[in-house]
């Protein structure tokens, strides 16, 4: 089937306004008379609060509000899963980012001075940095009900001990990963405005789910959600880090208290210290296989550092376990995980959602196995790869399109892979200090929320005067290009010009609830909701056209953006004509489309398993300086299978951004926290890749349309962040023969490994 808009390169509908600076992000708003807010954060990683005295701060000229836990009217906590993260701490602080008091003042300087006038007396408590310390029997309790945040055991498949005992080859290794920062260009921030006339508080803030923010604010204010409007889009980068509450409740409290507009915009340091990070994890693998290369058994244990509060640590651990075997068949499997509370950085949601931490290890193990068997690593993966209809390693049937084999076949056909020896040899001749290597890795990445977690979307399509088309979605535009993809899909099914479509997004008053923009889900679920909406709209258009034309409905047809007579296609009404007819008869052309993401026939609890996956293979070429240990990623090829590419530019953009993010995680980025104290609180110590560091990149799109996806699409927002990590590690092995068991792979670590030999 040939499409007009789908599967094309369509310029982003928001590009012009963003490039010309016309787009207003939440933190670009400066309403008149706006106050500046600041948050007093804990001075210690773990302590009792003995005394909290804000009287001097309240007396400072220019200060309009100093609020504490006493001013939280409703539930003093937030959290996507378990709301145990305090809005403002009462008598205990559990990490350096904990909020104790809020200040609103006429300017930043006064607000800051007010913070310094707040007196807090602490009684220090023992600091727990790691899950191992946290889970030791004599560990002090961080939460009254214990230090275990979450545990997950996926029901075992077969008998893993027997499977390993019977395997001709057994590999065993433990891998460690670090905390990672989202590092959005726009740090958490926004503006709150309280309107005394209608009693509505409006919060503009970078978000991933304005409707959940609204409910979390309502719970803490003890207000009706209808009195709270959240405008959460556009967002200046989110990557999972803005799904949770940051400034929203604080802004609402201050705006209502002062009855003035209030602005709160976290500094970079505050964003690093207070906001959630990618969890640091330890993942242990035992993998059994035969001499023929057939995988038999996999045993995985994951321990995660959850930080001080819950947020969404449980589902992250669950997805780490689900992702850990990869898109391969195993007869026997066992997956166990535990997340512990600590006083270290906060573990939270981050693009990849637990997968990077485990795929880093497991795909190196497969590389080891291929070398042991003297098999091509792509051949080994192909031999064990799943297909649609197969039973996965975690024991569920794969009911949706599964194109991992196609990505592997495409990888094997690239020049970078086919001619790899020649390429490495040629490069070696050009640089005497370096050895070159090429590595490959694959992943399956879940799309959607999983079994038992609400996973729906509502969208509204309205055709107004002159045929102007409005699409309303609660979904957030956070840089990924989904508004354009929605417009493409709507234009395709409505057979209209894409330029006639205006997308209104991320506003709890102006839009319906489309669910969270997470879990690589928004193309799949919103696309289906759009298709559903148009299927409701078309008969209405025909009905109204029938009245106007005086032709029976069954003689009319919809096509090419108009309703026409089957008998004489010259007799037709455009969308503008039909809209005018509807308006003149006081009717609206407004429909709500709805979709729910289909679920697996298994239910392992807590959202497992998933029903849709992006499949991806990535290849990396690296140069390793054997004297300094420096690794340069020279070229990367990403080969995603996302069902259908809605916008080819969009898929490539997601792949490129993901690869840079994955490269940063692999080689440079590290949130260092020792005894609860952050050592990397700026971008001069938290090392992101620069333009000079990033590789040449190529995307090869593999399409395997999924019958239940819009135009066959699934999603692609997260997967390309993941296999790049072990692909780089495998390429380093290929270059210099060392295996890397922890991240980031610094030159110091490479040299240590090279010395070990």
């Amino acid at each position: 089937m040939k499409y007009k808009y789908v599967e094309k390169r369509i310029p982003r509908i928001d590009a012009r306004d963003k490039v010309t600076g016309k787009t207003l992000y939440s933190t670009d708003r400066y309403p008149e008379g706006m106050l500046r807010a600041r948050v007093l954060r804990s001075a210690l990683p773990h302590a009792k609060i003995i005394k909290l005295d804000v009287s001097k701060a309240r007396e400072l000229a220019g200060v309009e509000a100093v609020l504490t836990h006493e001013d939280v009217p409703g539930h003093n906590g937030f959290g996507i899963v378990t709301p145990n993260w305090p809005v403002l701490c009462v008598d205990r602080v559990k990490y350096r980012g904990d909020a104790i008091a809020l200040v609103a003042a006429v300017d930043e300087e006064t607000a800051e001075e007010a913070l310094s006038l707040i007196e807090v007396e602490y009684e220090p408590l023992p600091i727990i940095d790691s899950p191992e310390e946290s889970l030791s029997p004599d560990a002090p309790l961080i939460h009254e009900d214990g230090n275990i945040l979450h545990t997950m055991d996926i029901p075992p498949k077969g008998d893993v001990e027997k499977g390993l005992a019977e395997s001709e080859i057994v590999l065993e290794q433990t891998y460690k990963t670090q905390f990672m920062e989202h590092a959005y260009i726009e740090t958490e921030g926004g503006v709150g405005v309280y309107n005394e006339d209608d009693g509505v508080v409006t919060i503009w803030c970078g978000s991933q789910y304005a409707f959940r923010d609204q409910l979390q604010i309502a719970r803490s204010l003890d207000w009706e959600p209808e009195k709270i409007r959240v405008i959460g889009s556009p967002t200046g980068g989110a990557f999972g880090g803005k799904d949770e509450i940051s400034v929203q409740i604080h802004l609402a409290m201050l705006a209502i208290y002062t009855k003035k507009p209030v602005r709160l915009h976290w500094s970079r340091e505050e964003s690093i210290v207070a906001g959630p990070k990618r969890h640091a994890m330890t993942a242990s693998f035992r993998i059994g296989a035969g001499h023929d290369g057939v995988f038999r058994a996999i045993d995985v244990k994951v321990v995660a550092n959850g930080g001080a509060y819950d947020t969404i640590s449980g589902p992250v651990l669950n997805l780490a376990l689900e992702s850990s075997p990869g898109p391969y068949k195993y007869a026997d499997s066992r997956f166990k995980g535990i997340t512990a509370y600590t006083n270290n950085a906060m573990g939270g949601e981050f693009r990849g959602f637990g997968a990077p931490q485990v795929v880093f290890g497991v795909e190196q193990e497969l590389d080891k196995l291929a070398r042991k068997l003297q098999m091509d690593p792509i051949e080994l993966r192909l031999l064990n790869a799943v297909e649609e209809g197969d039973i996965s390693a975690i024991g569920h049937r794969l009911n949706t399109s599964a194109g991992i084999k196609e990505t592997l076949v495409a990888a094997a056909a690239t020049s970078l892979w086919k001619d790899r020896d020649e390429i490495k040899h040629k490069l070696s001749g050009e640089n005497r200090y370096r050895e070159y290597g090429i590595g490959v890795a694959s992943e399956w990445h879940a799309v959607g929320m999983g079994v038992g977690i609400p996973d729906f979307s509502n969208i509204i399509i309205e055709i107004g005067e002159g045929g102007a088309i409005t699409l309303r979605t609660g979904a957030i535009e956070m840089g990924q290009g989904n508004l354009t993809a929605y417009a493409q899909m709507l234009a395709e099914v409505l057979e209209c010009d894409i330029s006639a479509i205006d997308v209104i997004h991320g506003d709890t008053t102006a839009c319906p609830d489309s669910g969270s923009v997470t879990a690589s889900r928004s193309i799949l679920v919103n696309g289906n909701a759009i298709i559903d909406g148009v299927s409701i709209l078309k008969p209405i258009l025909i009905k109204i056209a029938s009245e106007k034309l005086g032709i029976p409905e069954d003689e009319l047809e919809y096509g090419d953006g108009r309703v026409f007579s089957r008998n004489d296609s010259g007799i037709a009404l455009t969308l503008a004509d039909i809209a005018d007819q509807a308006i003149s008869s006081s009717r609206s052309l407004k429909v709500t489309g709805h979709a729910v993401i289909a679920i697996s026939d298994k239910d392992f609890g807590d959202g497992l398993p998933h029903n849709y996956y992006t499949y991806i293979t990535q290849i990396a070429l690296v140069g390793v300086d054997t004297g300094t240990g420096e690794v340069e990623v020279i070229k990367v090829i990403s080969i995603p299978e996302m069902g259908r590419a809605i916008n080819i530019d969009g898929v490539e953009g997601q792949c490129e951004g993901s690869v840079v993010m994955g490269q940063g995680y692999t080689l440079y980025e590290n949130i260092i926290v020792e005894k609860g104290e952050f050592k990397t609180t700026s971008f001069s110590t938290y090392i992101l890749p620069t333009a000079l560091d990033v590789p040449e990149h190529e995307t090869i799109i593999v399409e395997k349309p999924e019958k239940t996806g819009p135009f066959g699409a699934k999603g692609v927002g997260e997967a390309p962040t993941v296999p790049i990590i072990p692909a780089i590690a495998n390429a380093i092995y290929d270059a210099v023969g060392i295996r890397l068991e922890k991240l980031p792979i610094t030159p110091e670590y490479v040299m240590e490994k090279l010395r070990e030999g």
Binding site: T628, I672, T680, S684, I687, L688, T690, D693, E748
Partner: protein, 284 residues
Amino acid sequence: MKFNYQRVNTVSEALEALSGNNETRKILAGGTDLLVMIQEHLISPGELLDISGIEELKEIGEDDGMIRLGALVTHGRIADSPLLREKALPLVESCGEVGSPQIRNLGTIGGNLVMASPSGDSIPALYVLGAEVILASNEGERSIPIEEFLIGVKKSAIRSDELLVAVIFPGMGADDRGFFRKLGQRKALAISKVSTAAIVSLRDGVIASARIALGAVATTVIRTPRTESFLVGQPLTPEVISEAARLCSEESRAITDIRSNAAYRDEMAGLLLSRGLAEIAEEN
């Protein structure tokens, strides 16, 4: 934050302003370090004296073999200067690796010196060039060898009434070969984990003199006297280079911090020296 701001357009105006005792005054040149420190609340100056408009401090000159760089010459101009490429290659190479194009376009050589960071990239190059720092005050000018000017981490010998006006050094001669190399955590916007600058004088294939300086491996940039004296009188053979690297690593006195560890830095100080010397040996 609040501070008084004063802009001066000549050295004499600057010196007049500096003569009044004011412990909380800071001098603003390129601002690439100072403004970051103010923003991060590491310092809170009561007064900023902006010297960035003083044209007489922006000159690159040569007089009778001596090079004179005004304090406000930027890293970018040094990196692009054909004269300095010929007469001060280690300095050109180091300034070309400072920060990013934006920082190189604003940051000044004088600023890099008075910040006195052991990882300041221009400093090892100025050590091996044998530079002197010219300090001016209302009492007149004085000149201090760079190794005496820098006395500790972020500490220099400048008095609060003084302005660093220039740095001078003899241009490299026909027999001199030099280089600067650094390792950072990434390719740009990278603070040096370790850096090595060297100038050797080669006559008839033998080293007549050697000057080596290491950055980011001690409280100030340091010289490596044992390595230097070992090299004098030796030809640049692989064996000599390897021994020089070993000695250089021994003389490095690095510490462990969040950027790197001591053992790695010490080893790399020698490695960077050996790579630089090996390339000089090949070119001759």
